[in-house]
Symmetry: C2
Subunit: 325 residues, 2 copies
């Protein structure tokens, strides 16, 4: 079996267990927020973070079946941030479905986010491992800070590449890093191996968000489950757009950045920019940068124990650079 | 020196240390949410929760000065819930000042709440004590659930005394319980003594909220720092109002509960109800129930170690039943 097929088979085996654990935890929530929590939890994500926790822990020799609550706590934390983010962004759709706050209202959605965060914390605490709690609580704080940084730079055409990388590292990569690092901690890995697992997750997380930002420009909405051009319309300056702006002649650049800053871009021009970002290679350049992070992640993997799960983690990287949803 | 004067002197000594720790933590936050966090943190609360952590830990023999981050984490958690609650309640004033979301907007306020919660978690995690993390994360989950329960019963005239007690235990008492329990855990108290500390905090917390709910009916706004009658106007059925409704003749009761349920109570009648709750003894009856919880807390204290801080914790109870703000 080639590694990609093996990863698919492995995922098919583990996903139902992850889903069952998530459902069990959500069902135990207060009826008042249960539907809101289930709305975001059952939207059919890839469960990337729980799968990374499982694979990393097992690659490092962990065989105890008590791993699911930890793995699922990462998904609950992720879901909590989605609930609050969609309010902050005023987003109407996520994965082709109406966002929670448009269905259940803001009150339920703020509370459901708070309660998922709290629930995840109790699940992590239940392992009684200080290093695990420290890892996750630090990741949550950094994720919050990344979201704050992103919102602080809404409609900021001056955002640099470094500023952009800091935002995506904060809002996305730190939690993915924690997914891998917490797996290593649970497995009792050496400090050095824990550091390598964390670094693998960090690079993977950055690549994941870079590709996500490309898809916002290039993927048809029926594939990505979101409206294309959402970032541009919401005033989020992501890497494909940074490259696009850099490619403009001075006069055109000044006109565009002014319109972007003041949210006066006509819809016709939005469509034009989406086309040009794809056509003129800015999406492709961004994917190439994502590929460089995937390469860094691969180098980390080469120092993982020689285990079947390490091969599966490598297969996960394969799919990452080319993913179209 | 009588115990009440001793408590005042002790508080005067410790408050600056608590304030300094809170300020230091808030200053380290992202500039984007710092002002919002400081707005709620510098509103001049009593720092009841941190003081309880200090006093409980020291009553149980803890003398290490590393206690302030733990004590302050309770205040940060409390502040985080205030930020989100004021959005959910649509509250305009807190402690005579405009609420954070009316000053800084909803986005900053949701994020500031999230980041204070995350920050508090990292501060608790930094002690490396699983029991401490478990205690606090459980308290946060229960606090969320209490807030959810409260909102689920907005404008519900059928809310029973038991339902009401469950709400105030959830939204207020569990965090105050955790303030005391976490002090005991830090001090390495025996499981039995930890349980007694938790019980002391639980009863104190219930009494605290009962008196708070009385003050919403009886205290002039310049003393309480809130608009009197806020609970009635927001559709929150608290104990003084439950007693008032029970005192009505069947016809008047039906008219009032219908108007309460559908938010059609004329402002003139709101004023009448406020007057009657005070005049007809419903506020006093609620204070008497608060006193019974304070008595339970006092019984717990009688099993605390014979330490100066135990006397101060008793003095804190003295002031609680009679407080007017």
């Amino acid at each position: 079996m080639n590694p990609m097929s093996a990863l698919k088979a492995y995922t098919a085996l583990e996903l139902p267990r992850i889903e069952a654990c998530l459902r069990e935890k959500a069902q135990a929530l207060s009826p008042y927020v249960r539907a809101t929590a289930l709305h975001v939890l059952e939207a059919g994500g890839k469960r990337l973070r729980p799968m990374l926790t499982l694979l990393t822990a097992r690659a490092m020799g962990y065989r105890t079946p008590d791993i699911y609550p930890l793995a699922c706590s990462l998904e609950l934390l992720h879901s909590a941030t989605l609930l609050h983010d969609d309010i902050l962004d005023g987003a109407a759709l996520r994965r082709n479905r109406p966002t929670a706050h448009t269905v259940f209202g803001q009150t339920h959605t703020i509370l459901a986010g708070d309660v998922l965060l709290a629930l995840a914390n109790t699940m992590v605490a239940s392992y009684g491992k200080p290093a695990l709690t420290a890892c996750l609580s630090e990741a949550i704080l950094r994720t919050c800070s990344g979201e704050i940084e992103e919102i602080a730079h809404i409609r900021d055409p001056e955002l640099t590449l470094d500023g952009y990388l800091s935002i995506i590292t904060g809002k996305t990569a730190f939690l993915i890093q924690a997914a891998c690092q917490s797996g290593a901690i649970l497995a009792g890995a050496s400090p050095e191996m824990e550091r390598i697992a964390a670094e693998y997750g960090l690079h993977l997380g950055i690549a994941f968000q870079l590709v996500d930002d490309v898809l916002d420009y290039t993927s048809a909405s029926e594939v990505a489950g979101k409206t294309t051009g959402g970032d541009l319309r919401e005033g989020k300056l992501t890497l494909p757009l940074i490259f696009y702006i850099e490619s403009l002649a001075p006069e055109a650049r000044e006109g565009f950045t002014k319109a972007f800053k003041h949210n006066t871009l006509p819809e016709g021009e939005v469509e034009q920019v989406l086309l040009r970002v794809a056509r003129d290679g800015h999406a492709a350049t961004t994917r190439a940068i994502a590929a460089s992070y995937i390469e860094k992640a691969r180098q980390c993997l080469s120092r993982f124990p020689d285990a079947p799960e390490t091969t599966l983690l490598a297969a996960a990287l394969e799919g990452m650079a080319s993913r179209d949803k």
